[in-house]
């Protein structure tokens, strides 16, 4: 059973460029959340997608956008990259957004390490 898969694992961009990160949720999961983890910090919530709609958004600018496809996979897009966007971007999946409260099991992928030069 494949867990949460993310691509690419590493990438390097320059300031002002745009990047797209991809995530396939664990089999049977329909909800995808994205988190940004800067070095030495805990993950910070970016947004959550359920039924192809953004359901909740954290404190991130509009440069961060996303999409969820009918097969539940998701993309995170970041425009006009800044040096401060360098981080590990984690995708997490769960079954039904409300069930997180019941099971606590939010499954994380290995992440995409983005470096902005």
């Amino acid at each position: 059973d494949a867990g949460v898969t993310q691509s690419p694992t590493h990438l390097i961009k320059t300031r002002g460029q745009q990047v797209t990160l991809r995530c396939s949720p664990k089999s049977g999961h329909d909800t995808v959340s994205w988190y940004q983890q800067a070095l030495g910090q805990g993950p910070q919530f970016i947004f959550q997608y359920y039924e192809e709609e953004e359901r909740q958004r954290g404190n991130f600018p509009d440069r961060f956008s996303g999409h969820q496809f009918p097969n539940y996979s998701s993309e995170l897009n970041v425009n006009a990259l800044l040096l401060g966007d360098s981080a590990l971007y984690l995708c997490a999946s769960s079954q039904g957004q409300l069930r997180l409260m019941n099971t606590g099991e939010l499954f994380f992928g290995e992440g995409s390490r983005l470096t902005v030069l």
Partner: protein, 111 residues
């Protein structure tokens, strides 16, 4: 704004020692507190706590929640080098759609 604070930020112990990691929180409409272990990249789930005073155990790890004092502790007994990792505490609140994480505790277990 929800806030989670973990202490200590880092900890170095020797195999066989017992460690206690702390997590305090300030959230509106608290739902649950979760502990994760992050060894390289993907955090892995350890415990979810929703009620005060009920200890959760898994092998050498255990955790308890105090909803009155707004904190939780994670205990690891008889530590092993494989316990070396960052331990993250997170809280779920409000609509439960997001987790608010602390900065983590970096635990290093020396042989």
């Amino acid at each position: 704004e929800d806030k989670v604070v973990q202490s200590p930020l880092s900890l170095v112990v020797h195999e066989g020692d017992t460690v206690t990691l702390n997590c305090s929180y300030e959230v509106t409409n608290f739902r649950s507190l979760l502990w994760y272990k992050q060894e390289k990249k993907a955090p892995t789930f350890l415990f979810m706590l929703t009620s005060s005073g009920i200890e959760k155990k898994s092998g050498r790890l255990s955790s308890i929640l105090d909803k009155k004092e707004l904190f939780s502790i994670l205990n690891i007994t008889a530590t092993q080098t494989g316990d070396s990792a960052v331990y993250l505490c997170a809280v779920s609140s409000g609509s439960a759609r997001q987790l608010t994480f602390g900065s983590g505790t970096q635990l290093t277990v020396l042989p």
